[in-house]
Symmetry: C2
Subunit: 156 residues, 2 copies
């Protein structure tokens, strides 16, 4: 069964986001082995932004295996339709990657070096609340699986 890892910086604080994530983690269960990893945010008060981002990148990398394929959510990334994302997920599964990872950075973004290590995926030209964005991502990954399965969840 396909492994999916969600890697985020910092706990989910808003209870409505927690509840929504729980709903989609449950819905994902028949499709994949999904894990939700929470990485500790760096302390932006005692260090520079650059170093803090690198610290966070290091923690994010600790969840990533060289045989994984990693999507990094970034506003400046590539914008895909839901169907194109589903097809990309399918293609990467066929390519034999051991896990597909989805990374969401912290409030200050993602270290430039880490960005070069994954597929930059943009959801929108708009900026969303970092907490709420977690829901968007997990719903979209769930939608991808329903598209690949041909269930009625997604319709154009």
């Amino acid at each position: 069964m396909k492994k999916i890892q969600f890697i985020v910086i910092g706990k989910t604080q808003d209870s409505y986001v927690q509840d929504g994530i729980a709903v989609f983690m449950q819905r994902l269960a028949p499709f994949c082995q999904a894990t939700w990893h929470v990485s500790k945010p760096a302390n932006y008060v005692t260090t520079t932004k650059k170093l803090a981002l690198e610290q966070e990148a290091k923690q994010i990398r600790s969840f990533i295996n060289p045989r994984d394929f990693t999507f990094i959510c970034d506003e400046k990334g590539k914008s895909l339709t839901s169907i194109a994302l589903a097809k990309t997920i399918e293609a990467k599964a066929i390519d034999g990657y051991s896990s597909l990872n989805f990374v969401i950075g912290g409030a200050f973004g993602i270290a430039p070096l880490l960005k070069q290590e994954g597929f930059l995926l943009s959801f929108s030209n708009m900026t969303f609340n970092h907490q709420l964005f977690r829901l968007l991502l997990i719903e979209q990954v769930y939608r991808s699986f329903t598209i690949l399965q041909g269930s009625g969840y997604h319709h154009e």
Copy 2:
């Protein structure tokens, strides 16, 4: 105080979405007089899709005044950044519209005629769950007000 109307088709069923909307309705309160209107979905079993969409459009229009400015959320619409949306909201407020409305259609979309009566606003190339999309919209409208106020909520 600026009037904002959210007009959606069908009740919010998912409790995490309801909770999230409640959070943002409260956060919006200092900025505007926001109202959340729920319009009844048409019966797609007993009528054609075209007629059903027109029935829903009629109900949506019942909340709209000729002196309002109406944004209609549509995947094929114009994609704005959060800052561009904030500036558009500000411009429309200056233009003296009595209310700014944000319409989300039902599961089958929006009647073509109604689409011609508003500003088609796209959030993403991706399709989102219609329930979850309500949260996206209200967060984005809240974000717009924080951008116009210059609070720290939004950072690039």
